[in-house]
């Protein structure tokens, strides 16, 4: 295994009551790569992210993150190893303010007692500020998260992940429900934050995919049916057959 690979998945499979949601999947993501995973509904895209972050336990295969096998690790340990995951619907703490949301995600004081004696030092405040700036929420720091627009909630969740500075960031449909303008800004944001980390994005909006993807993987019925550049993938007859339509 070369050192430029961030994530190497081999022979991964999971079945729910006999239904194989992901089946003998092989998938490699390089360092500093932004990969987009597309595919029709039920192709196993979200399940793939669930398997990587430990939400779902695989029945076969390995998920190597650098040198660690994630299939053997607990969810919180996977996060601490450097894997961040954004959920499909914005998953933020609506009853906290924007800055509290970010601060809670700061990777210190992660044990129960550690959290009790956690101090907000200068570096925390600065990190909250810089991340808020990154995700375009600088002027909303003291606002309650429930009052943000849908798009801003998506950004906030991305910001919460950035607080942890993960090496692998996984985003499940980050622009769903966003306005055209917000999509533009999100594309810029993703291009910015993928500079020094690997990113996996699940997305349906092909125009958006074109803007951000380095490489595209197409899933169908739990298997990879095509992989490569956007142009190569969209020209693939099988992809047109199962996903893009004629």
């Amino acid at each position: 295994m070369g050192s430029h690979e961030m994530l190497t998945i081999q022979g991964l499979g999971v079945s729910f009551d006999g239904f194989k949601a992901v089946d003998d999947l092989n998938f490699i993501v390089d360092r500093n790569e932004l990969r987009v995973v597309i595919g029709p509904n039920g192709a196993g895209k979200t399940t793939l992210l669930d398997l990587i972050c430990g939400k779902t336990k695989s029945t076969e295969g390995t998920i190597m993150f650098k040198t660690m096998d994630l299939t053997q690790m607990k969810e919180h340990a996977i996060v601490r190893a450097g894997v961040g995951r954004k959920f499909q619907t914005p998953s933020i703490y609506e009853n906290l303010t924007v800055s509290e949301n970010l601060e809670v995600s700061f990777p210190r004081g992660r044990t129960a007692f550690g959290a009790l004696f956690f101090r907000r030092t200068q570096d925390v405040t600065e990190r909250v500020k810089s991340v808020a700036e990154e995700v375009l929420l600088s002027d909303k720091l003291d606002q309650q998260a429930a009052l943000l627009s849908h798009g801003q909630k998506q950004w906030l969740e991305i910001g919460m992940l950035l607080m942890q500075d993960p090496e692998l960031l996984m985003l499940d449909e980050p622009v769903a429900g966003m306005t055209v303008n917000e999509r533009e800004q999100t594309a810029e944001l993703l291009n910015r934050i993928s500079k020094n980390r690997s990113v996996i994005v699940i997305e349906h909006d092909m125009e958006f995919v074109r803007k951000i993807a380095h490489k595209v993987t197409v899933l169908h019925q739990g298997k990879v049916i095509a992989e490569g550049s956007m142009d190569k993938v969209t020209a693939d007859p099988r992809v047109i057959e199962v996903y893009l339509g004629h």
Partner: protein, 381 residues
């Protein structure tokens, strides 16, 4: 920006001071020792109310078995007091002098092993804290590591309450059975039944309660408290932010259990007995109602909620002995329907704006006077 100082704000500080003044100054000044002792008893329930604000209001973990920990604390204290009350001289008419009377009635001839260490006050005080902490830790780990939560957790805590009360009733010879542990007299020779002792215990109880209120406010103001709120809302998000959620819930559960136990121990001291009727399902649920009435998010609200419910209970049962249960039920339904956020919610909506208005008026009056003085001064000049 600085959340810690923001959260323990002026308002909170004023709230705690008002609470302390009411408990430590107003009540002793107004009420006779009989009533004061009664209030002291209610205030021991307030420990449970406060513990539920931490666990249920903020953490979203509903425990319907807080009576278990109240009882554990109470029984630890009762065992110590009972041993002291059962010296060989005052129990000389028993078949086996020197052991608690109920053991003698149950043909037990030797003090059971687990009673032995309760001859020491130091051990007893440690046990009041450590026994409930230990039990809540075991329950917490067993439940939360398996991701048992919500209604299922509530039902299991209720089962635990039932099990413990059945166990206490069943093991009459070891626990005093349904009657509980009664006839408690002295603590290290100090008669806890005298009026002066009742006064002192009332103040100790009040101070401990205010200590628990401040402790809970502090816990809620830390990152731990923020995470509890976050957990209540989006447990998965917390888990996938790198936190072992079960540990957080377990610590909150242990903290709440210890608070309940302190309340239980103070109950035994002030009321002079402990019985399984404070351990089972009914008292555990009643204690949740105190918190609901007070407002489940408000630590101070929980204390007032407990007092209000118990005042109402005493008033109704003295005035309308036949009707009081119906009146209590009606009050609960009314509160839940009309003020879902409890007393604290009422204060937030009506009390706070009023206080703010009064405060701003007071502030503006001097400025007006100064302005007028300046103006007149200017004219003369």
């Amino acid at each position: 920006m600085n959340l810690l100082t923001k959260k323990i704000s002026k308002n909170d500080l004023i709230g705690v001071i008002v609470l302390a003044a009411i408990i430590l100054v107003l009540f002793p000044a107004v009420f006779s020792i009989f009533r004061l002792n009664l209030i002291g008893k209610y205030l021991t329930y307030a420990f449970v109310g406060v513990s539920l604000v931490l666990l249920w209001g903020n953490g979203g973990i509903l425990s319907l078995g807080q009576g278990v920990f109240f009882g554990l604390g109470g029984y630890c204290m009762a065992m110590f007091l009972k041993l002291e009350a059962s010296d060989p001289i005052s129990t000389k008419i028993q078949t086996t002098p020197g052991i608690p009377d109920f053991m003698d009635w149950n043909q037990i001839t030797r003090l059971p092993l687990f009673w032995m260490p309760f001859k020491s006050l130091t051990f007893t005080i440690l046990a009041i804290i450590l026994v409930p902490a230990f039990f809540s830790f075991i329950i917490g780990v067993a439940m939360f590591k398996r991701r048992v939560g919500g209604v299922y957790f509530a039902i299991i805590t209720q089962a635990v309450a039932l099990i413990l009360s059945v166990l206490i009733v069943g093991q009459q010879g070891l626990t005093g059975g349904i009657n509980g542990i009664t006839d408690l007299k002295t603590m290290h020779g100090w008669d806890i039944r005298s009026d002066s002792a009742k006064y002192i215990l009332y103040y100790v109880n009040g101070a401990l309660l205010i200590g628990c209120v401040i402790l809970t406010r502090w816990v809620l103001s830390t990152k731990f408290g923020m995470l509890l709120l976050a957990l209540r809302e989006k447990e998965d998000r917390v888990r996938f932010s790198g936190y072992d959620v079960a540990n957080f819930k377990t610590l909150a559960f242990c903290l709440s259990a210890v608070m309940c136990a302190i309340g239980g121990a103070m109950f035994t001291l002030q009321v002079g007995f402990m019985s399984p009727s404070f351990v089972g399902i009914t008292p555990s649920i009643e204690m949740v109602i105190y918190t609901a009435v007070g407002g489940r998010m408000s630590v101070i609200g929980a204390v007032f909620g407990t007092l209000l419910v118990n005042f109402a209970k005493t008033f109704f049962s003295e005035q309308y002995p036949d009707l009081w249960l119906f009146l209590m039920g009606g009050t609960f339904i009314g509160v839940v329907m009309l003020f879902p956020d409890g007393l604290a919610g009422l204060y937030e909506r009506y009390g706070k704006p009023f206080v703010a208005r009064v405060a701003s008026k007071k502030k503006s009056e001097p400025t007006v006077a100064v302005a007028a003085a300046l103006e007149s001064g200017g004219k003369h000049g």
